[in-house]
Every structure is written in C-alpha cells, then in structure tokens.
Amino acid sequence: MTSPSATLRQFKLPDVGEGLTEGEILQWLVAVGDTVTVNQPLCEVETAKAAVELPSPYAGTVVELLFEAGTMVDVGAPIITIDVSGGAVPPPAGPSAAEAEPAAGLIGGPAPGGRTSVLVGYGPRNTDAKRRPRRVPVAEGATDVPDAADGPAGRPDPEVAPLLPTAPDARTKPVRHGGLEVGRQAEAHALRGDAATSHGVAHGRGRLRPLAKPPVRKYAKDLGVDLAMVTGSGDGGVITRADVDAAASGTASALAPRPASGTESGEPGRAFGTESGSGAGGEERIPIKGVRKHTAAAMVASAFTAPHVTEFLAVDVTRMMKLRTRLAARPELAGVKVSPLLFVARALLLAARRHPMVNSSWDEAAQEIVIKEYVNLGIAAATPRGLVVPNIKDAGRLSLAELAAAIGELTETARAGKTSPADMSGGTITITNVGVFGVDTGTPILNPGESAILCFGAIRELPWVHRGGSGGGKPKIVPRQVTQLSLSFDHRIIDGELGSRFLADVGAILHDPGAALAF
C-alpha cells in the first residue's frame, strides 16, 4: 500500500477472485468523513465472478473516495484514502468483536438479487498479460543470434533454432518446440523493430509448422486448407479461424503472398509453395456434410433405384398469364402471391386427381404399389443450406387461396432455413421450379419414395404459331408467352402412356385454364 503521506492509507482494489483484472464499484457504504474500523464494509464490488463487500483494512477517517459508484476499476487501482492518524499506524489490533461482526456476517452471505452472471471456479483472463520490461541485452555483433532473452539465462539454446528467414544459421534444425517459443521469437523481433516478423516466422516452410492453435488446425484440415498457404493475421503471425475461413473461401488476400519471380525466389527461407506447383489453379475441398450430404444420398438412391423417364412439353401459357392478372385482383386472393407456380401446382393437383397412379410409391419390400389418396405436394427450394424439398400436406384439399398461402409460407420458411424435418417428410409428388433461374427445362431426379416430379421452366415470350378465335382461326406466327414443362417419372410404376397423359393434362390446364372445368 502506498502512502501519500504519513497518515494517509490507500486501499487498492484487490483481486477478490482468481485472476480478475477489474471490478465495478456497485455502491459505497461509507462517505467522506466517516470513521471506519478494520473490516468494516467500505463498498460493494461486482466482478466477473461475484458481488462482494470489501472490508476496510484500516481504521481511521475516510478522506476521499477515488471512484464513483458505477465505475469499472482496474485491480490494483487505489479506490479510497483513509487517514489513520486517529489511531496507531497502522492499527495492528483488530476491531472490537462487535464492530467486526457486520463484515463477518455479510461475507459469503446472500447478496441482493439482480446480479449479472458470475463464474464459479477459475475464469479466463479478460486482458492480455503484460510482460515486464527486460534489460536490453548486450549486442553480440551477429544479428542471427536469437535474442538473449529467449533462452533461459540468456544462453542461446541450440535446440531453439533461429527461426527468422533473415537469420539462416548453420545450426538450424527443424524446431520441435511449440508455438510458445516461436511466439517469443516473433515477439522479440517485433520489439527490436525487425521488419521481417510474422510472415517470415509463420512461413518458414519446410523448417517449421505454420503457427495455429490446435482447434484451428483441425478446422483447416476439415476444410482442406493447407495452413502453409495461409497468412496468419494473429499476433506473431498465428493463423486464426478467420484466416482459414478466408483461405477456404478462396479470397486472394488470404493466400500467402507469392514471391515475385527472381526477387525472392533465391531465398530458401521464403518458399511459399509456388515452387511445389500448387499455383493459381488451386482446388477447394469442401467437406460433404449437412444438406449436401443428405441431398447426395437421396439423389443417388433415387437415380439408382427408380428407372427415370423424362418427357418434355412446350406450352403457350399466355391465357394463364392473363387470368393470373385478373385473379390477383380478386378479394379472395388478396394478400397472397398469385404466381405462375401457383397455377402449375393447381394444374398438377387437378391432373393427379385424374391420374392417381402418378401420386404413388413403390414398396419394394411388400411388392406393392401404394397409391396415395392425398397429395403432399413437394416444392423444391433452393435455400442457403442447399436444396430442400418441403411439402404441402394434403394440398389437393386446399382452395386456390389456401394453396397460394401455403406455397408462400413454405418458401419463406425454407429460405429462412427453418424447414423442419416433418415439413420435408411424407411428400408424394414434387414440383421443381427452375424457371426462377431463367432456365428453360431440365431432367429432374425423383424425390426418393415418389414416382413423379414436374419441372417448370422459365416463361418466355417466343414466336409461336397461334390460331386465334379459340384455335379455329388462321395460323399466324405471333409472340406468345411460352414455358417448358418436363416430367420425370418412375418407369416401374408409370408407363410412357400414363406419363404422357398426365403431362398433357397439366399442359392443357396451363394453356387453357378453362379446361380445368372439365377435370
């Protein structure tokens, strides 16, 4: 305890936990001018671990409170000045038992509620440890000798090879020390203002492992990132998780700078990997997991289980698009999105009612074909997580407005990445809308367990042979709105005839929505 004057004592904020660095003064329990006794509570302090009362180490008069309540104070900072001139200096004897009691009773006792969280046991340091200044070592002439501070007692340890590229040394051996020694070297050089710091330390390829903490190493390995190719941005060139992320995403800046040919290539210590051939045409390896893994398994299972047949149909949907405009204005459909997809879904449901066999599944074990009396209509959705196929349960029973609302909800949920497994299970037939990507058509692969999938392409204005007057007029080439439909189906269940009829019915409804009245 420093003493500003002979009778003044300052109480420094102690580390009341283990390894705490600061505490907040919640409230003062004494005021300037108060007489205090040893162990009388002075203030309440909240740290990362607990809220505690600090008892006075001195008996005397409060001269000054050095921080206001509510202030965050570093451990070791004086918080109160007490004049002990009234008594012996310092008062060796404890207070009377009666005076000591309040502190005693309160310590460890219940504290008022509303505390922020605390930890029990050891907590991590929140701040960096400060290093004590070192005496400047006497220069020994040669700059390639490690800082005298690095070896115990300033003796260069032959095992701790000079690590810096500017300091090639005949004694150099592969360093078996971990990051600590390396970090110290880097730090020592940083302190000396050595320009060649982190890069050189981290990338002495072939001489030492790149610096990264074990979890980051694991992470890099999982992502297929070669740490030797990554420039560390952490202290002393340590590679951080963010550096690995940046490298994995192929950001050029994250890759280690490659030496310009001729200038540095002659320096053996600066080989960054170009010499080993992994130049600009690098590869990125992405672990197969999550939705991708699931999708792959499902597609393989589907493609190699159900023999797929795909049929195509070009449809003039000009009338449908006109109807869409009219329907969208109707009060029943207010607030929902009347999209082309909605019409395709509706057309599919109507056609499926006519051809129930397309809404079925193949039960290999039971040697049965299961025809579903309900349609759980799957809509393939591209989401941030990848492809998911949630379905609308019993979509055939929904009105157009309900169907529109269901599609809207389903896509929104999928885009938010919140599609639940239940949403994705039990599908019976699926629509995939590649038109939203401006693509005309494709050969979709069945959602496993289903027997048909309808692919809906972009709607384009195309030159089309059109007969006016409900098809009875003279053929003319006019711009019409045209889309492509393709249908993949499981040929075990569905023959070409059934598939064709189903696809033709869907097309007929989209071409002439009035045809739906006939279904």
Binding site: V52, A93, A100
Partner: protein
C-alpha cells in the same frame, strides 16, 4: 460471529427434515439438539467433562474467528483465495479432537478446524493461501498431512498410509477427510475399495456440506452418502455434523475400531457450508437465502453455547474471554499475514531433494540469472 450471539430457536431436531430440497434424513446420530439439549443415542455415548466442553467451545469460536478474519483479508487483497469453513466448525473440531496421538489426518484444503486441533499455527495455513508458502508444517510431527487441493486424492494417500500403519503393526489410525463432492471421484472409490479389501485402519470422514461448489447433493447421489459404505463392505454412519459432541463420539468410536483392526468406517457428517465455496464463488447464484437462514438456526456454535449456558457450565465471563481471545487471535493473524515476506523465487529448488542434484543446481543458476535479466528488481 453474528451466529455466535443469535438467539437459538426451537426448530426441528433433524437437520434437513424441514428443507424441501433435501430428502428425509433418518439415522442421524445426535447428542446435542439444535436447541442445546443433551440427548442420548443408543450406540454412541459420550462421557465428557465440563472443562472439555468449554475447550470444545473455545476451539469452535476461535476457528470461526480465524475464518472470518481470513475471509476479510482475502477481500483486502492479502490472500490469493480462501476456502471458508463457516458452518462446518463442529464437524472439523469434533473430528480433530477425536484423534489420538499417533493418528494421522489427511485433509482437503478446508480443514482449518482440524489443523487447529492438531496444533498447526494458523499463520502457516495463511501463508499457503497467501501464496508465499507451499505448506510449512511438519505433517508427521503434527499428525496432519499437508493440504490437498486435488479433490479426493488425499483418500488414496490416507488408505496407503493406513496400509503402511498396518504393516508396521502400529496401533494408530488414519482419518481421511473428504467432501460430498469428492464421493463422485474415482480416487475416493478406489481408496475405499482398497481400504475395505485390506481392512486398513482408516476412517473416511465426509463433511457433507450439501454442495459440490454449486452442485447440490441430490444431483450427485441417489442415496444418502453413508449408505454407500455398505457397497464397499464397511459400516457407514451419519452424524449431525453441526453437533460437536456427536461428531466427537462417532469419530472416536470409528478410530478405535480402526486401531483394533476392524477396518474402515465411513462417517457422513451432515452439515452445511454457510459461506461460499471459496472467495471466488458466489453462492447466491445457486442457492436460496432462505436455505441459509434455516441452517443458521442449526448453527454449531450457538448450539453448544446454549448448552453451556443452560447447564451452567459456562457463564458470560467465559464467553467474553473467548471473544477477546478470538480478537487477539484475529489481530495476530492479520498482522502476521500482512507482514509475511515474499519468498525467494529460487527457494522452490531448495526442497525438491534432500541433497541438491547437479541438474537442479544448474537449473537454479539459470533461473536466478533469468530473473536478474528483468529491469528494476532483484527478481
């Protein structure tokens, strides 16, 4: 010392019976009710004189005063940490006073009360928690091993020591201290298995203070702890850990049985940690104030004080003198702690081997040189 002077009230005689978070507590050995009434137990009787009763009270009060001062000193930055024994004084003093000369105790890091009864100077314990000492007392001379920080490890040491006692043919016993949390540790179970297999003269004295830091007992054990002894093949007994007389009687009997070759006993001293686990802990985070208030009514010191007052064994002058002695002790602990010199860092090399090895001497020289390389200071 608030609890020292609080009025005793009539509460249910069985600790925990009224606490909804605790199971019913049968089979509790008690010789002094929470109101301070002497009660008899069929298996454990205690013939004790007035002087001994007053001495026990003095032990309890002084140990608590020491503990309070140590907690305050930690809050003033004079100790790195302190593990308070508040509320467990009777369990520790009773167990410590049950030991005979030649018996050996293996403590945890909280057995300040036992240390007191074995004659360890409180300042030696304070040096440990101030971080200037690694434990300076002579374990063999005092029959009190150094504090063990690793939870439960001392039980293995105790069992091993007891097996050594057995092989020496010595007529002494070993008292292994542990907490309720340690019963979940592998070492403790291994120690008990070995102790049972070899009928080692060791008594496992478990202070069940209800919490393993923040984890309540019912999360750790589906059965009362003392019942676990049956699984190891030796007797288990639950004693009111806030009843110094019952603890004394039960521990004496268990140690006597061990000395006579009857093998180990497990004692569950049912008590309560009224303070924090250590000064780094905030118990308000995991237990209710009402629970603490309930246990204050079973305060081990108030109970004995009530008995001494009511039966006329001690008067106000006696209690005042103990208080005064406590304050003197606290003042000695305070000044002694604050004035402790920082140790020489090189001192850690001095007690590794009885004779310094050349390697260690070289390391010491390097270390001294390294410290000298810092600015401003000899180390």
């Amino acid at each position: 010392m608030t609890a020292l002077r609080q009025a005793t009230e009539v509460v249910d005689p069985v600790p925990g019976a009224g606490a909804p978070h605790l199971p019913q507590q049968p089979d509790l050995v008690q010789l002094l009710s929470p109101e301070g009434e002497r009660v008899e137990h069929p298996d454990y009787s205690l013939d004790i004189g007035d002087d001994e009763l007053r001495a026990l009270y003095r032990d309890l009060a002084l140990v608590r005063r020491w503990d309070i001062e140590a907690t305050a000193l930690q809050r003033q930055g004079e100790l790195g940490i302190w593990a308070s024994l508040l509320g467990q004084e009777a369990a520790q003093v009773g167990a410590g006073r049950a030991m005979a000369d030649g018996d050996m105790a293996f403590p945890t890091y909280r057995e300040h009360g036992v240390a007191w009864t074995r004659g360890v100077d409180p300042l030696q314990v304070m040096g440990l928690f101030r971080g200037v000492d690694s434990g300076g007392w002579d374990p063999l001379a005092l029959g009190f091993n150094l504090y063990t920080i690793v939870i439960g490890a001392q039980c293995l040491h105790a069992t091993g020591y007891a097996m050594g006692v057995q092989r020496d043919g010595a007529e002494s016993a070993v008292l292994a201290f542990l907490g309720d949390g340690a019963t979940s540790q592998g070492e403790v179970n291994e120690a008990m298995i070995f102790a049972a297999s070899f009928s080692a003269p060791v008594v496992f004295f478990c202070q069940n203070n209800q919490y393993a830091i923040s984890v309540p007992l019912e999360r750790q054990s589906k059965v009362p702890l003392f019942q676990r002894a049956a699984g190891f093949g030796f007797p288990g007994v639950r004693v009111d850990g806030n009843d110094v007389l019952a603890v004394l009687a039960v521990t004496r009997a268990a140690l006597a049985a061990a000395r006579e070759g009857q093998g180990p006993t497990f004692i569950e001293a049912f008590t309560y940690r009224m303070g924090a686990h250590t000064t780094s802990d905030d118990p308000t985070r995991y237990r209710l104030a009402s629970e603490l208030e309930e246990w204050k009514l079973r305060d081990p010191i108030a109970r004995l004080k009530a008995h001494l007052s009511r039966s006329g064994i001690a008067d106000a002058a006696f209690f005042d003198s103990v208080d005064a002695e406590g304050d003197e002790l606290a003042a000695r602990i305070r000044s002694g702690t604050v004035d402790m010199p920082d140790p020489d860092p090189a001192g850690m090399f001095d007690h590794v081997y009885e004779e310094q090895t050349p390697t260690l001497a070289a390391q010491r020289a390097e270390f001294v040189e390294y410290h000298a390389s810092f600015e401003g200071g000899e180390h």
